[in-house]
Structures are given as structure tokens and as C-alpha cells.
């Protein structure tokens, strides 16, 4: 406008003073040229800036990461939960130890009693408000829970789950996006109070603010206030440069105006909150309040207290100058300035502001290692979800994903892998050994923990899900299962030959399997052959069973793997992943009820509406009576077979079922074991599949024991299903015998497979042994 006025004025001058054509005329022509050039450049420049700023803004505005939650911990009298496990779970959920217990998200531990101020949370099955309760624990078990407000006992309470990951496209930038609605009100209003009080009204630049700042700076003799609006600061953050030139200020102002032209205030504020620079972690810049909250406090933004919000807002002014880890005094002073601004503007009462200012900074000593916790498990989550969702949706729709991860079990599993491999190295095994481990709930198929690398923090090749390795003797139980299903021919006490044999293979070569101890053992029972993992006996048995039956049984148990129908399959020449092995053994451990392993139980929209549920589904296996008998045999592997060192490693004698596995040239070490409620699979070997001098019991079982030493567990349930029952058998002759006879052991049989002959000691009254009580309680352990 003003330029045009000048132009017409110039014309007028021209006509009124035609005589003066000399230097004045030249001056005006030159001036016109300048104006023309300026306008000619300005318009495209503004268009260019407009393009830049809108691209930048649009590019970041819409994406919301999906939030991945661990399972929520149920607390109830009788729960097996040592105090240290409860504390581990609380910490994973972002709870902090505090003497005050004045806010949700705090806990107070004294001896065996833990008081918890639970936050409100939208669980996958409904919202629960905040609440305070006390949990008492004795002997590793919760004895009682008291609602502290009502002073009444509680039968059931739960903790809001740990957030284990945010699935976001720009993960490398370390950003935890937040939606404006999820941002604490105090942050939204406080930010404006401190940085831009006129935010709601100005058009992008705030002349009054600039004047006020200039005046304040003049008065103080130094720069105490900035006049930049939040919009200008946002632009500055988009194109972060450090030159403080007039040209940059000019660009910033134009872009801020353009932003306000295109977008409304709430969008701009949301972008600001997610964009502003708030710290530096190594080479990575910490952008946005969501990320800063994790970086400084290891807490999600919506769980911060007023003094913490004040600190973050204070950091906007200079994240490195006020770095609370490096300069705590400066940071405290700045935070308190912000708190007084809060009280000035009525956001906090003077009293509350004073109280908040008296608190410590509450920052963690060092930031958590960047990014997702539990990469390997999150891989599994992505895999399950990818069957339904596009990767793009996971990254942008802000889904709330409820998973089955048990943080304390995961932490212990990671520690068991890392520590276990360190011990193996000490004992002379290769330092390059790798490992994977999967832990699942037997009855529900819920994956509680998963480790795919010896360094659990490393995201990369996930051996638990992707490493296909030969499973060795871990397959043998299936051969014996098939035999037990042929109850006319086989029982656990049926004798088979463990003698050398030579088989002609498809390529014309001969194959002569040897036993691990390079001996043959002659006539052995099925039970002995399985518990001691004899190869020759197993191949002989397998040949009678049929390779194709074995292959289809593997499929029936929930794993579709390509299996060559060659006799070496009986000894585990089948490549499966640890996760697939877990699936097979889940079926056995659950007495023949296969449950597809799950890592996700529900998915909600960002607003908390249910999108999908993954309910428990189970498929009964045929001939579950044979599975019952097999389960007993696998407890004998631990009691007297290849895994007999396990009880010593655990320091416990309860029944555990297990199977070791070793492959040719000791390349792979496997151990599969289950208790009543948990099944866990461990693999150890070299990535390049080179001989690793490992066996099932010298490596994988050690890691497995390292985990279960730290887990509360109950013994395997050995009650037989219908169609199988316990009998007393003479341990030498394998004939039926009486309970009180010498050498009597109790062995389960599939109906019709028990020995028909009996010892002399066997008395008629023993026939009534299978009494009503027996039937109910099954085998009693001696």
C-alpha cells in the first residue's frame, strides 16, 4: 500500500516539476526499479516461504504414533508376586517411589508392604479412576490388599500398564507425538503464560509483545524477554538455524503469518508442543514435550507434576543453558521463575506454586536408552497386527495396542540371556554365541517375554521369530507321542531296540545314526529312550510310526513348516524358529489344547473405542490321553534324563517337564521346559551356523534355569485326562505290581496299554487302587 502511494506521489512530482529532469529524475527511476525488483522478488519469495512452511507443517501434523502397552498387572490375595517383582512392574509402568504418596503414579514401599497411588487409565475393557491401596506380601505371595480411602479389603486391583513402545514413522528423530487433548491443561496454558500471552489473539506476530519485550530488555540492560510468538518459534524450530540475522527474523515473521493464515490456533499449538527443541541426547535432538518428558523424567507427559511441567516450559528458553542434568541450579531457578509466572496468571495458587518450587527437579540420573523398550517383543506385536493393519496405519493412526508382555518376566528373561551367555563365555564357549528365548502362558498362549538377541536393547535380527534352526532332539517327544497314540503297540514301558542301524537315503548314500555317547544300549523302554534321548532307538521307533505321520502331527500342533520326509527328521533335521517350537510345546503343556500364541489382546482407536479383540481360542488335539502320558515322561527327562542337572541349577525339586536338544556338530543348543503355567523355549548357537560346542544341557538349559530361578512357579499338573490312568509297575521287569511291592514305581498308561502280566507280589486288592480319590487327585508324588 505505502509503496503504491509513493509511486503516485512520484508521478505527481514528475508532472509538477517538469524542469528538474536531472539527478532527481534518475533517482526516482532508480527507486522505481528497486521497488519493482523488490516486489518481483518478494511475491515469489512469499510463495516459496508459503510452500516451505505448509509442507513442513502438513508433513508432521497428521501422524500419530500407535501406543503399545504391556499387560496390566492384576493384584489379588494369593498372587505369586515377590515384593521386588511388584516394584519392577511399578517402575516399568512409570511409577515412582515417594514418601508422600500424594499423587497418582507414586508408590511407597516399607518392608513387605507397598502402598500404591494408582493412576486413572482406560484399560482395554474399561476405564478405572485413580485409587490408593496397600498391598501386603509375605513369602512371595500377596496376602491382602486394602483400599486406603475406604479402609476396606480389596479382592482385586490392577496397575495401569507400562507403555513399551510408540510405533512412529520418524522414530530416528526421537519424537513421542502427543495430541493436544492428551496434553495436560497446565502445559497448554502455562506455555502461553510464559512464552506468548497474546497467542490466542495475534495474527502470528505480536507487535505489542515485541514492544513489551524491547522495553523490558532496555530496562534490564540485557535480553530478558523474547518477543517471538509461539508461531514464530515453531517456524524457527522447523528450519533451525542459529544465525540471528534480520533476514531470518523477516522470514520467520512472514512464515508465522502464513501459518496462521492456513491453520487454526490449536493445530499450531499442537505442532509447537511436538516440535520445540528441548534437549540433546548424543547425536539426537530431543524434540517436543512428549519426548522431553521421557528424556528427563522417564514418564509420559500426562503423568507429570506441575513442577515438572514448569521445568519443561522453562527449557524452551534454552535447553542447553538450562540443562537440568548439567546445570541443576540454573534449571531450578528457571523452573521457579516459570512457577511464579503460573501463580501470577492464576494457573496455580501462590501456595501451590510455592510448594512445587520447594520440590527437587525429579529428573532421572540419565536418560533411558533411546527408543522402544523390548524391540523383540514389539516385532512380534507388529507381526500379529500386520495381518490386519497396514504398517502405515500403525504409524499414523494413534492406535492403542494392548499386549501380553509381562514387564518383570521380560526383564528377567533379558537378564537371564545376557548373564547366561556371559557365564558360558567364562566357561570357555565362544563369545560370539547368540541366543533367543520365548516365554508364554501355557493356558492362554499369551507371550509374556521374548528375546531375540544377546543384547536385548539392539533392534535387528530377531532370532526368536526369524532364526530357523534345526531343532535336534526337541522333536523326539513327538515321535514318542505318536507311539503312545498307538496304544495297542506301545506304552512307556514297552521295550525297543537301541542298536546300530543303517538306512539308505534318497540320494543313495547310507545314514547310520549314532547316539550322543557313541554307544548302543540294547533293549530299552520308551521312557528310557526318551529321557536319555537315544538316537538309534528313536529312529527305529520313528520308522515304525512313519515319517509322514510325524510331519502331519507337527502341522496339527499348529506349526506349518516345510519338512522333508527323510528319516533324519526323527532326530530333528527340521528347521523351526524358537517361536514355532514354543507353539508346539504350548499344546503339550496345556494337555493337548492348542492355543495360537498371542501378543496382542485388543486394539483401540486413539479415542479409546474398541477396534479389534483377539479372544482366547483353543483347539483340542486328538488323543489327549497320550499327551498326558507324554507330559509325565518329559518330567522324567528332568528327574533322571538328559536334563537331570536342572533341579540342582534351580535349587528346586518341583516337577518340571523339559527336553534338551543338540544338533549335529553341536551347532544348536535347545531347551524347552514348562511348569504348570509357563512354557519357555531357549536356543543358543552361532549366527553363521558354525559348530559351537554347545549341547542342550550345557548352554540353553543354563539360560532357562537362569530365568526360572527368578520366577515363582508351580509344578506340572500330572493328573491324567480320561482315557489314561496310573499303574504301579515293577521298575526292573516292567510288570504290573503292587504299590507296596519292592521296586514299585507309578507310571501312567493310555487305556489298554498297561502290561497285562503282573508280578507275584501283585495282590488282588491292588486292582482297586484306582480309587475315587485317586481318580480325582492323580498321582501323588512320593
Amino acid at each position: 500500500m505505502s509503496k503504491r502511494r509513493k509511486k503516485t506521489a512520484a508521478k505527481r512530482k514528475k508532472t509538477s516539476k517538469p524542469v528538474s529532469r536531472g539527478w532527481i529524475g534518475r533517482f526516482w527511476r532508480f527507486g522505481l526499479l528497486l521497488v519493482g525488483v523488490f516486489l518481483g522478488l518478494l511475491v515469489p519469495w512469499v510463495i516459496y516461504l508459503n510452500y516451505q512452511v505448509t509442507t513442513e507443517f502438513e508433513g508432521r501434523k497428521w501422524d500419530l504414533p500407535s501406543h503399545v502397552f504391556a499387560r496390566s498387572l492384576d493384584l489379588y490375595p494369593g498372587a505369586l508376586l515377590p515384593v521386588q517383582d511388584l516394584e519392577m512392574e511399578l517402575k516399568a509402568s512409570g511409577y515412582r517411589s515417594s514418601n508422600e504418596l500424594s499423587r497418582p503414579g507414586q508408590y511407597r514401599k516399607s518392608g513387605n508392604s507397598v502402598e500404591i497411588f494408582r493412576r486413572s487409565f482406560k484399560f482395554h475393557d474399561g476405564e478405572e479412576g485413580p485409587g490408593r491401596f496397600r498391598v501386603r506380601i509375605a513369602g512371595g505371595k500377596v496376602t491382602d490388599i486394602t483400599d486406603l480411602a475406604a479402609g476396606k479389603p480389596l479382592d482385586l486391583a490392577r496397575i495401569d500398564p507400562a507403555e513399551i513402545a510408540a510405533i512412529y514413522p520418524l522414530q530416528k528423530e526421537d519424537r513421542t507425538l502427543v495430541k493436544l487433548v492428551d496434553v495436560p491443561q497446565l502445559l497448554v496454558t502455562g506455555l502461553q503464560a510464559v512464552e506468548d500471552r497474546n497467542f490466542k489473539h495475534h495474527p502470528g506476530i505480536d507487535l505489542r509483545g515485541i514492544l513489551r519485550a524491547a522495553f523490558a530488555n532496555l530496562k534490564a540492560g540485557r535480553a530478558v524477554q523474547g518477543g517471538s510468538t509461539l508461531s514464530q518459534q515453531l517456524v524457527k524450530n522447523y528450519f533451525l538455524t542459529h544465525d540471528r540475522t534480520i533476514a531470518r527474523k523477516f522470514n520467520e515473521a512472514i512464515m508465522a503469518l502464513l501459518l496462521e493464515l492456513h491453520y487454526d490456533k490449536s493445530n499450531i499449538l499442537e505442532a509447537y508442543i511436538n516440535e520445540v527443541f528441548l534437549g540433546q541426547q548424543g547425536a539426537y535432538a530431543v524434540h517436543g514435550f512428549g519426548q522431553a518428558s521421557l528424556f528427563y523424567f522417564d514418564q509420559p507427559l500426562n503423568r507429570l507434576e506441575p513442577n515438572q511441567i514448569a521445568l519443561l516450559i522453562g527449557l524452551v528458553k534454552g535447553a542447553s543453558y538450562y540443562n537440568p542434568r548439567r546445570h541443576p541450579e540454573r534449571a531450578t531457578a528457571r523452573r521457579n521463575q516459570v512457577l511464579s509466572a503460573f501463580s501470577e496468571t492464576g494457573l496455580l495458587t501462590a501456595q501451590e506454586a510455592k510448594k512445587q518450587a520447594s520440590l527437587g527437579l525429579g529428573i532421572t540420573a540419565k536418560p533411558r536408552s533411546r527408543g522402544t523398550r523390548y524391540h523383540a517383543f514389539v516385532d512380534l506385536v507388529r507381526r500379529q497386527l500386520s495381518q490386519i493393519y497396514q504398517e502405515q496405519d500403525l504409524k499414523t493412526e494413534g492406535l492403542r495396542i494392548f499386549t501380553t508382555l509381562a514387564p518383570s518376566v521380560q526383564e528377567k528373561t533379558q537378564a537371564a540371556v545376557t548373564e547366561g551367555l556371559r557365564q558360558l563365555e567364562k566357561r570357555g564357549l565362544s563369545p560370539t554365541l547368540q541366543a533367543a528365548m520365548v516365554v508364554a502362558d501355557v493356558s492362554t498362549g499369551e507371550v509374556q517375554a521374548l528375546v531375540g538377541d544377546k543384547n536385548p536393547d539392539r533392534a535387528g535380527f530377531n532370532r526368536a521369530i526369524h532364526a530357523r534352526r534345526q531343532i535336534g532332539s526337541v522333536i523326539k517327544p513327538l515321535v514318542y507321542l505318536l507311539a503312545l497314540e498307538h496304544s495297542n503297540d506301545y506304552s512307556l514301558v514297552t521295550e525297543i531296540e537301541d542298536e546300530p542301524l543303517t538306512l539308505r537315503q534318497a540320494d543313495g548314500s547310507n545314514w547310520s545314526p549314532a547316539n550322543y555317547d557313541e554307544k548302543s544300549h540294547g533293549g530299552v523302554t520308551l521312557l528310557e529312550a526318551l529321557t536319555r534321548s537315544y538316537n538309534q532307538a528313536t529312529v527305529r521307533l520313528g520308522l515304525n510310526i512313519g515319517i509322514n505321520n510325524l510331519v502331519s502331527r507337527i502341522e496339527q500342533l499348529g506349526v506349518s513348516a516345510e519338512v522333508d520326509a527323510v528319516p533324519s527328521v526323527f532326530l530333528g533335521a527340521v528347521e523351526l524358529t524358537p517361536l514355532e517350537v514354543t507353539q508346539i510345546y504350548q499344546s503339550l503343556a496345556a494337555g493337548g489344547f492348542s492355543v495360537p500364541l498371542r501378543s496382542v489382546i485388543a486394539v483401540q482407536t486413539a479415542e479409546g473405542n474398541e477396534l479389534a479383540r483377539y479372544p482366547l481360542r483353543m483347539v483340542p488335539q486328538p488323543r489327549r490321553e497320550a499327551i498326558g502320558v507324554l507330559n509325565y515322561a518329559l518330567t522324567q527327562v528332568v528327574e533322571q534324563g538328559t536334563a537331570k542337572a536342572l533341579p540342582g541349577l534351580l535349587g528346586r525339586t518341583e516337577s518340571i517337564a523339559g527336553k534338551t536338544g543338540t544338533t549335529n556338530d553341536r551347532r544348536d543348543s535347545w531347551f524347552v521346559g514348562y511348569t504348570r503355567n509357563r512354557v519357555a523355549v531357549t536356543w543358543v548357537g552361532e549366527d553363521d551356523n558354525s559348530p559351537a560346542r554347545v549341547t542342550g544341557s550345557n548352554a540353553a538349559m543354563q539360560l532357562w534355569a537362569g530365568l526360572f530361578r527368578q520366577l515363582p512357579f508351580e509344578p506340572v499338573d500330572l493328573r491324567m485326562p480320561d482315557g489314561a490312568y496310573w499303574r504301579w509297575v515293577d521298575s526292573k521287569s516292567n510288570l504290573l505290581t503292587g504299590k507296596t511291592c519292592e521296586g514299585a514305581v507309578q507310571i501312567p498308561f493310555v487305556e489298554g496299554s498297561a502290561p497285562s502280566r503282573s508280578t507275584a507280589c501283585y495282590s488282588a486288592q491292588e486292582k482297586d487302587e484306582e480309587s475315587f480319590w485317586k481318580k480325582l487327585f492323580g498321582k501323588k508324588k512320593q
Partner: protein
């Protein structure tokens, strides 16, 4: 010691006890008329039930209310939560089977009832509910012979002594 502690009680069934042994019935459903009611009637004289954790009891009651309100998904979610607390509780598994029956998911109803039977007491009311659920499910799955056989087994649940082997 190896086995879930079961409290086996032979008693003349009191109606008050019966009312707490399962989710509150919703009106007029197949589950009530063909599973719960006859099982209850059959089990007069014999009752076998596990000692239940109060947390599980609470969740079962909530699931019962959800089921009565026709909110089967929520009922199933609550029962699964209970199952995490007591993974081998035949009552929870049978309740899940009944919710599946309400949802007309007959194959899962069948499977849950089978599992409940396998790890359950195999006598008494639960046993009868197990087999009746199996019977109804099989019928819907067009296994009529299997359905009749299951019906017979439901009746055998009331023998105080298991069949001789």
C-alpha cells in the same frame, strides 16, 4: 500337592449355594434351559467345586452381569482376565464355553467345555454343564450322534464314584 486343591463336598444342595455357582442367567437362552438348569437339577445330592479365589469370584460375578445384559464380548474379556489369575479353573473355562454358546460360536463353546472337563472334577454340576454344553454344541454342528452321547455323559456325571476302568 501336585494338583489344584479341590474341595469335594457331598451335600444336599441348598438353593442358596446353587445361585452362587454360576453366572446369573439371562432369560430364555439355550444356555439356561439346556445347560445350567438341568445341570443344577441333576446335581442335587452331589456337588464338587474348586476353592475359588475371591478375585476370580468377583470377575465371574461381573462376567455374569455382563452376560445377562447381553454384553458377551465384555463377559468373555472378564472371564479371560479371571483365567489369567487361575489358568486351570474349570468353572471359568465352563463359563467361557457358555458365553461362546450364547454367541453361537459352537466350536469354541465345545472346545472350552472339553478343556473344562479335562481339568475339572469330572463329576457333579460342572461336569454336567460341560457335557450339556458339548451336547448342544455338537447338535448345532450337526454331530447328532455325538450330541446324544454327550447327553448320556452328562447324566453319568452324577455317579458319586467314577466308572470303573
Amino acid at each position: 500337592m501336585l494338583f489344584p486343591v479341590l474341595l469335594v463336598t457331598v451335600l444336599v444342595l441348598l438353593s442358596a449355594c446353587a445361585a452362587t455357582s454360576g453366572p446369573a442367567p439371562s432369560q430364555g437362552s439355550e444356555v439356561d434351559s439346556r445347560v445350567r438348569a438341568p445341570a443344577k437339577e441333576d446335581s442335587e445330592g452331589v456337588q464338587v467345586f474348586p476353592l475359588q479365589n475371591p478375585a476370580v469370584k468377583e470377575l465371574l460375578a461381573d462376567a455374569g452381569s455382563a452376560e445377562s445384559a447381553g454384553n458377551y464380548n465384555q463377559a468373555a474379556t472378564l472371564l479371560e482376565r479371571a483365567l489369567r489369575i487361575q489358568p486351570r479353573d474349570p468353572e471359568i473355562l465352563q463359563s467361557l464355553a457358555e458365553v461362546r454358546l450364547q454367541m453361537r460360536d459352537y466350536s469354541q463353546a465345545l472346545n472350552f467345555a472339553t478343556r473344562s472337563y479335562d481339568i475339572g472334577p469330572r463329576v457333579g454340576e460342572i461336569c454336567s454343564r460341560n457335557w450339556r454344553t458339548i451336547s448342544v454344541s455338537r447338535e448345532h454342528l450337526n454331530d447328532h450322534a455325538g450330541s446324544v452321547e454327550a447327553e448320556q455323559k452328562a447324566k453319568a456325571c452324577m455317579n458319586t464314584k467314577p466308572r470303573s476302568l
